[in-house]
Subunit: 205 residues, 2 copies
DNA sequence: TAATAGTACGAACGGTCGTACGATTTCTTT
DNA sequence: AAAGAAATCGTACGACCGTTCGTACTATTA
């Protein structure tokens, strides 16, 4: 930041870089994200771009962080205005599905792509991905617990199990919708989520 | 094949190569599978190994095919002896989860890893992955239809939706179990599968 | 205006990638 | 045992990888 509050030029460039990095990473993975290619896409010099991060790994970590921020922006924040409990669960899952279907990033859900890429490769990148997903799962789990406390979900609900099943539907939609280029899977996921939540209601219809 | 029925030497080598390729691809992806590295692991010359496939893409396609064969061997074949219908559905899904949990390949389910890697990259590899998964989904869908025909599942069952939900649980287990190195997710998946099938029974308990 | 810090550049490094080709070894068949 | 086919090797290639370094330009600060 400058003294009068504007962004430094470098910070603007950095944002541009990460914006493009997210597009590439969502489709080609963090490994396909090469510095030369990224620089070429943005008409920057390789070395100039490199200087912003200092290493490939730092660029990857910055990309993961940017992906987390985008996810919060698109999925979590819009649900803040929804009252806690069941309604918020529905909003969060709904936003998540919308965000993937809207193709904010060409490869769908970045965290899905990256987590599958790094799940079996120990290191700082994998740790960062796992931490991001963990935070998201924590928040969902907490929201489920709230709904139980509020009496909006059955008191014998297993939050961890419900969390697993709800995220399953979205995860599967992420994978198949992109692979088959077929958006009907989002409908399948929405249906499954609705039925599953219906079944967790205190007074079954 | 030789005249006396033995395998040609080259064919044996090819199998050895693909065996190792599956290990690497499951953990590092098809892109991380480099010819030099693969040759080094097997104490072969790069050019000698290369000659078996003629191009990197052909090696990748052969690896996808090998993954498909391994999947059929581990998951589909053992369920052939189970009578068609509900029991076979349970066997297929159960075998699938077992096969991933047993860590036949270090990175879990190869088709999961590879499909996430290539879902947004058009080309022959993606097509091959999609075709393999499609065949598997077709078989599962067909088995579900059989169970409905046999009266083992409710007649108003939507096979496509049931298929989506069952595969969701396994898919999610594949992802999270490896990422967090936590096998309890397989239990979550088994529980979800059991409950979902229970709910599809003609006479709900 | 002079000094300073922030940015970006071009050129070059050692390495690895996929690929090509001819020589050579090893197996299979006659 | 000889001939032929099959398999493997060594070497080389151009392209790209991540990284380093010295330099130039451009803002901000003093």
């Amino acid at each position: 930041m400058t003294t009068d509050g504007r962004l430094l030029r470098g910070e603007q460039t950095r944002r541009l870089i990460l914006e493009r990095a997210l597009d590439i990473a969502s489709a080609e993975g963090l490994e396909g994200l090469s510095i030369g290619r990224l620089a070429g896409d943005l008409s920057l010099s390789k070395s100039g771009l490199f200087a912003h991060f200092g290493s490939k790994e730092e660029l990857q970590l910055a990309t993961v962080e940017a992906a987390r921020e985008a996810f919060v922006e698109q999925v979590v924040k819009p649900a803040r205005s929804v009252e806690p409990g069941l309604a918020r669960i529905e909003a969060l899952i709904g936003n998540w599905l919308d965000y993937v279907e809207r193709r904010v990033f060409p490869g769908g859900c970045i965290l899905y792509s990256i987590s599958a890429e790094y799940d079996a490769r120990p290191g700082r990148v994998r740790d960062a991905v796992a931490a991001s997903l963990d935070a998201w799962r924590d928040y969902l789990r907490h929201t489920i617990r709230e709904a139980v406390s509020l009496g909006e979900l059955r008191s014998d609900t297993d939050p961890e199990q419900l969390l697993f099943e709800l995220t399953s539907y979205v995860w599967q939609a992420c994978g198949t919708a992109v692979l088959y280029d077929d958006d009907t899977f989002f409908g399948r996921a929405r249906e499954a989520v609705a039925v599953r939540l219906q079944r967790a209601l205190p007074r079954p219809a």
